[in-house]
Amino acid sequence: MHQKRSPWPGIAAFCLILLLVPLYWLFGPEKTFSPSERRYLAERPDITKQDVQSWTFDQDAESFLADHLPLRDMLAGIYAYFTLLTGRQVSGEVWMDREGYLLSAPFEADQADLDKRMTRLNRFADTVQLPVTILIIPGHGWVRRAFLPPELGKLYKDPEITEKIRSALQSPGLSMPDTLALFDREGQGWFYRTDHHWTADGARAAADLFLLHRGMSPLSGHTFIRSAYKGYTGSTRSRSALWLTPADTLETDDPGVPLSVTFQDKEGVYDSLFFKEHLASYDFYPLFLDGNHSVTEIDRQGGEKTGRVLMLVKDSFGNSLAPLLVPFFDRIVMVDPRYCRKSISGLCEEYGATEVLFCYSLERFCTDLNLLLLK
């Protein structure tokens, strides 16, 4: 016999959802920033005459509604896990390996673009007439490729791209220690689970590689004070929306020597390499040297004078590397070309640099447009 089902439960559920969402948009709290996504949310559209003429109002409205959807993080998370569980992570920006590490998907390096970068770099080295070391950090994904399904692991091209960079080094002042061999060792915990940055151990290994490459003693000859901060969630977790990934513990190594830190784009003189106010924010990483600044000067005021001044040209990886190098240089000048329009060779002269270190992740080195303006 045909069982007649009541249509009402389905109708009630559908209509309830349809009504609750607009009520939330109208009367719910209006957030301006999403800590989980690390971005400012779209503002409530304000219709202007221009909007009506160009009819961009509909896009603004859609952006606002999407950004302020109730349970937005949860919905994004549901879809991220749905994508992961159905095997489609190949199309995403972030891949999860079988140990739960979040890895940036491979990137493509354009050969013509890379040639331009290398021409600039060679010219720079010829201009400054100083030893210039290139420390390129391979991608987290390539380092952990063994933990990915084989078909995904094969897509990382870090060795090929690194080799292209190495083969394009022409200036006699340029050298490039083998970071691929350094990081291509499994189970060392070189990188965070939720972030693309290296851990304190990863930074130490790179610092040692650089110091030995430049004929200095390794870090083990110096004492560092290690601190650990629980609850660190990095940018790959934000990009992935895989919210169930457990947080990391951020570790710092303090050289424990008197020093002063100044920034060209921020007032004040600071006596620490670590800015703990950032531990209260959504992103811990600016704990290292207050995050990215155009030019940062670190002057060591204690310990033996070495007569060495390092010009550290870097992306955010350099922020956690610099504290480890403090005992070896009287002064470290950090330049971030993303925020600094000055001539770096000019800065080398101004600060009396004795050597230059480029510390970049491979992806940033190949994609940061500011390196095309290097001089």
Binding site: I11, A13, L75, A76, F82, R88, V90, S91
Partner: protein, 467 residues
């Protein structure tokens, strides 16, 4: 505004349903017309006046046909001419002028007139055909003249089928405009259909779209298997995108008390192209058959004339899909296959085993998706050479392997979803006591996943949006 946008789902739809159901019955169609014009104006603030003009003109011409019977033919000609003129001006003028430029000397072809290319009003191909179905059926005496401009306007502009069909013939909806079937059962059926359509579009079509987009930019980098599977993904994307939209339209119609014609009937299970076109975009096929093929004589005037009629209909069908010559080629491709089937192929196929008939149809449908994707001739030739010329490309590349393995479960879901299997399963168990709750849970999950996907996808266009 598209159905798979948050603006539609959580702003326009609740406001429209609330207004529709809270108002007394006699005001409902007026409200639906108002809501539909708002819906159209959201995406086309200026062209909404074009549509209002078109509605009023054709409504008046319909009344004129009733009142001035002896001028009926002239009024029909005026209506058809004006409707086609609007369609040609907005949709095809740019194509014709661009093509004409090639044959003219530079001094003439560089005139500003030749760069005339107006923006295409959304849904113009759909609502123009709907209006023409009304006026032709009134002329033929198959439909009553609609005296109310509100009801006629509602028929033309009704938002569920306004921008991407199905093409609803006036005769099919004439009575429903007066007496829509308002009931909880109809509303419930509508929500189910709408959610299924939304899931088809957002979960399946968009997934296939992501897959095909990865490879379709540079066919020269493709492997042989990659090229084949990308075209299969394109074919699946096309089906789930368009049939998903049609399901949403039919679902919204049911929620408002209308029953639209079914637009898709599992076309990929077809065993010939003749059968395929009885299952794919049924409302368009019906329209061309009723208003072009039969008036041209159909198959009543001998084989040669029938072939000519097929060529005419399919050239027009191709151009209806897009104002590019590649769509004309696409139409002629279908015409060629249909003519071959009429002449001898259907007889050959009838004698062939069933799997061969499927293989034949699916093979040419895969090639169909290459032509339909609208690439340049050299792009298509490169693609075909990868697929068919040995030694042009490797069998499989690492990138293709990763994508194919990653999307394998989705291909399987799409293959299954394009057969009647899931529907038959649901029908088989529909009388069980648990079928009701299971249906609601499945629909709720699909709705949740679709909204979650929409939250994650910022770019979400419909393929058929601009037709």
């Amino acid at each position: 505004m598209v159905f798979s946008s948050l603006t539609f789902l959580f702003a326009f739809l609740p406001a429209s349903l609330l207004g529709y159901y809270l108002l007394p019955g006699k005001y409902r169609m007026g409200f639906l017309l108002f809501a539909s014009l708002v819906f159209y104006a959201w995406g086309e603030p200026l062209y909404v006046f074009l549509m209002i003009f078109s509605i009023l003109l054709n409504w008046a011409l319909g009344l004129g046909m009733e009142r001035f019977g002896s001028w009926k033919k002239l009024l029909l000609v005026i209506s058809v001419a004006v409707n086609l003129a609007l369609l040609v001006t907005f949709k095809y003028a740019g194509l014709f002028l661009r093509s004409l430029q090639v044959f003219l000397p530079d001094s003439i072809s560089s005139a500003p007139f030749f760069s005339f290319s107006p923006r295409l009003p959304i849904g113009i191909s759909f609502f123009t055909f709907q209006i023409m179905s009304y006026i032709i059926d009134v002329y033929r005496g198959r439909a009553q003249v609609q005296h109310s401009p509100v009801l006629f306007g509602t028929y033309v502009a009704m938002f569920p089928q306004l921008i991407a069909g199905p093409i609803v013939r006036y005769v099919d909806i004439e009575k429903q405009l007066q007496h829509p079937e308002i009931s909880p059962e109809a509303f419930s059926e509508g929500t189910g259909l709408f959610i299924l359509g939304l899931a088809k579009k957002v979960l399946l079509a968009n997934s296939m779209g992501t897959f095909s987009a990865q490879f379709s930019q540079s066919p020269a980098d493709l492997s042989i298997l990659g090229a084949w599977i990308t075209l299969i993904a394109l074919a699946l994307q096309l089906y789930f995108d368009f049939s998903g939209y049609s399901d949403m339209a039919c679902g919204l119609g049911r929620m408002l008390g209308f029953r639209f014609v079914r637009n898709f009937d599992y076309p990929y299970i077809s065993q010939s192209f003749t059968e395929y076109w009885r299952r794919w975009h049924i409302s368009l096929g019906t329209w061309f058959r009723e208003y072009v093929y039969y008036p041209l004589g159909g198959n009543r005037r001998g084989k040669a004339r029938q072939i000519l009629n097929i060529l005419i209909v399919w050239s027009l069908t191709g151009l209806w899909h897009g104002a590019e010559w590649s769509f004309l080629i696409w139409g002629l491709y279908h015409a060629f296959l249909l003519v071959m089937e009429k002449l001898f192929l259907l007889k050959v196929l009838k004698a062939a085993p069933r799997f061969l008939r499927h293989a034949y149809t699916l093979f040419f449908l895969v090639i169909n998706s290459l032509i339909f994707s609208g690439g340049t001739l050299s792009w298509m030739l490169t693609w075909l050479s990868v697929m068919f010329v040995p030694g042009t490309a490797p069998l499989l590349s690492p990138v293709d392997t990763a994508w194919i393995l990653g999307y394998l479960p989705w291909f399987l879901v799409c293959f299954l979803g394009s057969t009647p299997g899931p529907r038959n399963l649901a029908l088989r168990f529909q009388n069980r006591t648990w079928s009701g709750p299971v249906r609601e849970i499945c629909l709720s999950l699909l709705f949740l996943l679709s909204v979650a996907a929409l939250t994650s996808q910022s770019y979400n266009p419909f393929i058929y949006f601009r037709f």
